[in-house]
């Protein structure tokens, strides 16, 4: 037996399906998509096979608007180099992976070229619409979902002459208002001159630029000046002479001490000994005779001398 109860948050038909987008934003999007369709790198990036297309944007004469047969339509596509793109779309027809299969989205395929025509009721609609991948649109009613499928700019668009001529009146220009859209002017670009390389190399910029620092000084390891003589000299040039003087003085001291010790350790010769003894005696004599010792009289007998 299955478990009871209802699902969490049962899906309702009154889910908010629609979204409001500002008119200006919608127009901005369409206008950007049209602009992107004329840049070969963006069109190729979107995946269209435009290697054999002679020029971007691709414009064909109005005689194409009166094509009635699909076979001639294909021939025209081959002539203008748009057939590889349509071929790609035909080859890519496949069954969708995933549950979308059983939810009425069984087949998927790539998008081919979009043909935009100018005059109302042109016959080419019927001729081109059965070609797999190819879509048709009137220039007065361009659909963003077709110009930028999946949200990716750069659909491969084939314009007819009258379609391209009408674009100016539909969307206006940067100064002139559009005739069809009340008060609408094409959006201004963020940068008028987007060529960064040119700006950087311009006179105005290069004249105030500072020279490149080629040799960057990085912090080196700190060495102890008390141990490393060279580093000490860098800080205190007098250190060398000071150290030299100290060494010399030390050597001098060592030498003189050694001499003194040697002299003391050498056995004293007879003459020197006699001289030292005599000097001692004489000094004693002078000491007792020069003494101003007050009680000398008491001790004359003991000392055995007289003043």
């Amino acid at each position: 037996m299955c478990r009871g109860g209802r699902m969490f948050a049962p899906t309702k038909t009154w889910r908010r399906w629609h979204r409001k987008v500002n008119v200006n934003q919608k127009r901005y999007a369409v206008v950007s998509a049209i602009a992107a369709s004329s840049i070969p790198s963006l069109v190729m990036a979107r995946g269209h096979r435009v290697e054999s297309v002679p020029e971007m944007p691709l414009v064909i004469s109005d005689s194409a608007e009166s094509i009635e047969k699909t076979s001639t339509a294909i021939k025209v596509l081959k002539e203008i180099g748009a057939y590889p793109d349509a071929e790609k779309a035909k080859d890519s027809q496949a069954i969708r992976p995933g549950k979308g299969k059983m939810r009425n989205r069984r087949y998927i395929s790539r998008k081919g070229p979009l043909i935009v025509y100018g005059t109302e009721g042109a016959k080419l609609v019927k001729a081109f619409r059965n070609i797999p991948g190819v879509e048709v649109a009137n220039v007065e009613r361009l659909n963003l979902l077709k110009l930028a499928p999946g949200g990716h700019l750069g659909r491969f668009v084939i314009w007819t002459k009258s379609a391209i001529e009408k674009l100016d009146s539909i969307y206006g220009s940067f100064e002139k208002c559009s005739e069809k859209k009340k008060g609408y002017v094409l959006p201004r670009s963020k940068m008028v001159n987007a060529d960064l390389a040119r700006i950087i190399n311009s006179d105005e910029v290069q004249s105030v630029v500072k020279p490149i620092k080629k040799e960057i000084k990085r912090a080196s390891l700190k060495k102890n000046p008390l141990k490393n003589l060279n580093v000490m000299l860098k800080l205190n040039p007098y250190a060398k002479t000071a150290r030299r003087m100290a060494l010399l003085a030390e050597a001098e001291r060592v030498k003189s001490k050694k001499e003194k010790l040697d002299k003391k350790r050498k056995p004293v010769s007879k003459e020197e000994l006699a001289a030292a003894k005599a000097a001692g005696k004489a000094w004693y004599k002078t000491m007792i005779s020069d003494s101003d010792y007050t009680e000398f009289d008491n001790f004359t007998k003991w000392l055995g001398v007289s003043q």
Binding site: N201, Q206, N236, Y238
Partner: protein, 244 residues
């Protein structure tokens, strides 16, 4: 700038860049020459100053000895003049501290254990030290201590950065406007508490010393009780030898 087709077909932008690079190279060369000359002059000046200071220190020492001997001869005593310079080392950590003593230690720039700073002696500083006695040990450093501290662990404060004193140019950058252009000048200013002692001392980042080899006696007690805190006058030098 686009390619102006000259006979050699060198684009104008390249020519302009070449000319500008030459100008820069010339200016740089001149600058280097001027710098070299200034350095050479400075070197001589520094040498002479260092010599003069060495003589001064020698004389001072000899004078002290002479005065002591004279006094002993006469039978009296020579009393050393009160020290003008102190070296303070923080010996306790950062936990569980009264906020007022904590701020005083911050004012003294002793924010870490075993940090050391020099300090001028006057009533204000002495009173400050009295408040933080249990957390620091201090004394009167001698010339050898000052020299070794500045040479081995001297770092200067330039643009709020701790820069090692590897070259006299760093000292000059920091204290040039007070006439102190080399480490010997700095040492002299610190030891003879000179007119710009405040700036010189502030230029020196607080010394980060290592924990003393051989250990402390007893942090919790005052020095006179057999511990380590407080004023230990001249014995600070022995501690500095062990911590430097």
């Amino acid at each position: 700038m686009g390619g102006e087709e000259v006979k050699v077909a060198v684009p104008e932008s390249v020519l302009k860049k070449q000319k500008r690079n030459e100008e820069w190279a010339l200016a740089k060369k001149e600058e280097n020459l001027a710098l070299k000359k200034k350095n050479a002059e400075n070197r001589k000046l520094i040498y002479n100053r260092a010599k003069q200071y060495a003589k001064e220190y020698d004389e001072e020492q000899k004078e002290l000895i002479r005065l002591k001997r004279e006094a002993r001869l006469k039978g009296g005593f020579y009393v050393n003049p009160e020290a003008k310079l102190l070296f303070i080392i923080r010996i306790r950590g950062i936990n569980a501290m009264h906020p007022k003593t904590r701020s005083i230690l911050q004012l003294l720039r002793l924010r870490q254990i075993f940090n050391g700073v020099f300090l001028k002696v006057n009533k204000a500083t002495v009173n400050m030290l009295h408040r933080v006695e249990p957390y620091v040990t201090f004394g009167y450093p001698n010339l050898k201590s000052v020299r070794e501290l500045i040479y081995k662990r001297g770092f200067g404060k330039l643009h709020q950065q701790r820069i090692p004193l590897t070259d006299n140019s760093i000292v000059e950058q920091g204290l040039g406007k007070h006439g102190i252009i080399c480490t010997e000048d700095l040492i002299h200013e610190i030891i003879t508490v000179g007119p710009h002692f405040k700036e010189a001392n502030n230029f020196l980042w607080p010394f980060q010393l290592k924990a003393p080899l051989g250990g402390l006696k007893k942090k919790r007690n005052h020095y006179v009780e057999g511990g380590d805190a407080g004023n230990r006058e001249d014995f600070i030098n022995e501690l500095i030898r062990r911590m430097n």
